[in-house]
Symmetry: C2
Subunit: 425 residues, 2 copies
């Protein structure tokens, strides 16, 4: 089943607010077998009516966000009612609820607020427990000229929209839908390999079958490889995918740090990190995961050489002889973090994020990544990410997390060598 | 001048990636007097061609993002060439650049990569210094049937898109546009104050003049206050803005961490941080700023109590008596970070990010922020951010950076004379 998303609001087109509606709605609808085939953002005004009209021509589910509020630029309700020829009437129970809401907060209620109690004939009211304007649902029978269409008008603020989707829109669609097709979307998340490599190693082969849709999404240091098709076909090709790119697959959905934290928690293992060039981003990503405190003991961001000495116990001679960005210092940092925290594992990063500070021998983008483990000699990998500073931090942090993942799974620590093994978790 | 934005990519419609392109492009185009009148997101495939066709009918500037990569689902280049009747040829210099890029990184180059060197006749190549696929610009003369149209095909990854917009798209549009009006857009960036407070303190007053357009953009812990109008009018009201909300304005463009690092560099002052609940995000933000190494000595992410003791020297009695999330521990953490690093200043954070771990006395969202300074007794502020984990980390990190900003500027450490930093809502 196809859906179209219409987002109204000049603040979106002015760039003042990020439009997160598409992402939220798509993630909610996809498991029902409903795919967003188009999303459009139009300014408040006449384009709203036109956009609804065109979307109803194409898609079975049309969801409009925004424009239900009290101010003069909120015209979604009126545009839909006019387009569908449904007269508007005031719903007394909504009006009461709005009055009660203002009274509870001791706020005066402006006249224009009452507009939000207007309901087009035939539309069903979707209660809003987190704001003033209720949502509206036009079930197929109200739309005589276009059968089997579902039109939803929903509020724009995410904290009103999200619960309304969960509590009202999804149950309505679940009830209205034919039994789900046997199609599935699977996502393999990879790190340490490029998008074009994924395609040449396995993507082309999958696509040649003809019955599976293939997609890629590349982010710094990461690629999502996506296949959509009949469940049986996906099951069939899965062994081939694992054989070809299995060692780079870190999860089927979780972030790299989520899968790592879950693995360490399950094994009752602890981690510390010593960061220089990544500047805290490894620690930041690990502590984004709820429950990270069970496994994460300390992150030591030793930016200055003096801090590498005093906090991590890196010998001054090592720093003077090899420089802070070097294999021996990366090893000493990882050892020092493990010693200081008493953790099972410690990762370290030292490199040149740029834009300045590079040399012929160690150009901007060079990074050494260390891993100290209680059950293994300390290892160091040298990587090269000649990109902007922010991307460098992200790629180096991912490479550090991936080094531990590979160690935990017994995979070759230098990607490219080995064969397939299971993902974390 | 009107623009339309077309975003391609199934990963956007599947909700796997947030679409930040509209916001970025709109903020870049608006100061040129170009407004986005419509944005549409379509899947890779035939809808791309149709979307470009329709957009060229309506808008003078059409910007397409995504679909220029090497994989089979990347078809933007071919769709535009076909629509406009421009044959494609291989550009040898692009192919050389791509080969060199792969060679520099010691990566094998898959055959499909060469597709990115295809250029439609009449199109101008926009170099991509941060990725493989160059952008393409179709100037008005190439589009015989629709004069005065500017069509841009740009790469999807933000780290490639953003510099290409800045370095190529904006200069092209600036040269193509009629001489700029005497209008200006100014942005004041504030932290520690809510959007509605900014509006009631100064926004309404500015808007009442009638000649200045006012806008707000609220992010966790931050508000951008934006005014657009004749330069003279903006100069006139500036003193009023500074008088009303000046103490919350941290910059006219820089991020909070950029402005802080610049200030510390100029004064030759150094900083360390001791983080618990923010988990490295304060250090991460500081080290996002090029040149941060001149002022940032160390970030000590002491997640476990044992690390607070061993790394920062927080007395065990203090942890046992008051708990890790407490004013005395925040103070001891800041003191410990300053001692361990020898810095002029040290910030500390200890709080409850959630979702679990709260109590009646210290509910989820509670955070204590410490500041140790060589020239001032250590201070601790208690704040409350009852929001999701990721937002909590962001708000607590901003509050910590702001505490130092206020100290450096001699501003009251309790904004607005109140008891705590403003919370959400």
């Amino acid at each position: 089943m196809q859906a179209e998303i219409i987002n109204t609001g000049s603040e979106l087109l002015l760039g003042l607010v990020q439009n997160r509606h598409l992402s939220h709605l798509a993630l909610e609808l996809t498991p029902l077998g409903i795919t967003a085939e188009r999303q459009v953002c139009v300014p408040d005004g006449p384009p709203v009516r036109e956009a609804i009209d065109q979307a109803l021509d194409r898609a079975e589910v049309v969801i409009v966000t925004g424009g239900l509020g009290p101010t003069s630029d909120d015209i979604t309700r009126e545009a839909a009612a006019e387009l569908l020829g449904c007269p508007l009437h005031t719903d007394e129970s909504i009006l009461q609820a709005i009055r009660a809401r203002f009274a509870r907060r001791n706020l005066p209620m402006a006249d224009n607020v009452g507009r939000q109690a207007m309901v087009p004939a035939g539309a069903r009211v979707l209660p809003n427990n987190f704001g003033t304007a209720p949502g509206l649902y036009f079930p197929p029978p109200t739309l005589g000229m276009r059968p089997a269409r579902h039109l939803f008008l929903l509020p724009g603020p995410p904290r009103e929209l999200h619960p309304m989707v969960r509590d009202h829109v999804l149950p309505i669609l679940r009830a209205a839908l034919p039994p789900e097709e046997d199609r599935e979307c699977r996502i393999y998340r990879l790190t340490g390999i490029g998008e074009s490599q994924v395609e040449s190693r396995i993507g082309c082969q999958v696509m040649a079958r003809g019955d599976i849709e293939v997609g890629y999404c590349a982010r710094p240091a990461e690629v999502d490889f996506r296949i959509i098709g009949p469940r049986r076909a996906l099951d069939e090709i899965e062994p081939g995918i694992v054989a070809e790119v299995g060692e780079w697959i870190y999860s089927r959905g979780d972030t790299l740090e989520q899968s790592l934290v879950a693995h360490l928690r399950a094994q009752h293992l602890s981690l510390a990190v010593a960061e220089s060039c990544t500047g805290g981003s490894v620690a930041d990503r690990i502590t984004d995961v709820p429950g990270a405190s069970e496994i994460f003991l300390a992150g030591l961001v030793t930016y200055a050489n003096s801090a590498k000495e005093t906090v991590l116990g890196v010998p001054r001679e090592l720093l003077e002889k090899h420089g802070a960005v070097s294999e021996p210092v990366a090893a000493a940092m990882a050892d020092g973090a493990r010693r200081a925290s008493g953790s099972h594992f410690a990762l370290s990063t030292t490199g040149i994020a740029g834009p300045d500070g590079g040399s012929d021998d160690k150009p901007v983008g060079t990074v050494f990544i260390g891993l100290a483990a209680q059950d293994h000699p300390t290892v160091v990998r040298r990587c090269f990410f000649p990109v902007d500073r922010a991307t460098f931090k992200q790629m180096a942090a991912s490479a550090a997390l991936d080094l531990l993942r590979r160690h935990l799974l017994g995979l070759p620590l230098d990607p490219g060598g080995g064969s397939a093994l299971p993902t974390l978790g």
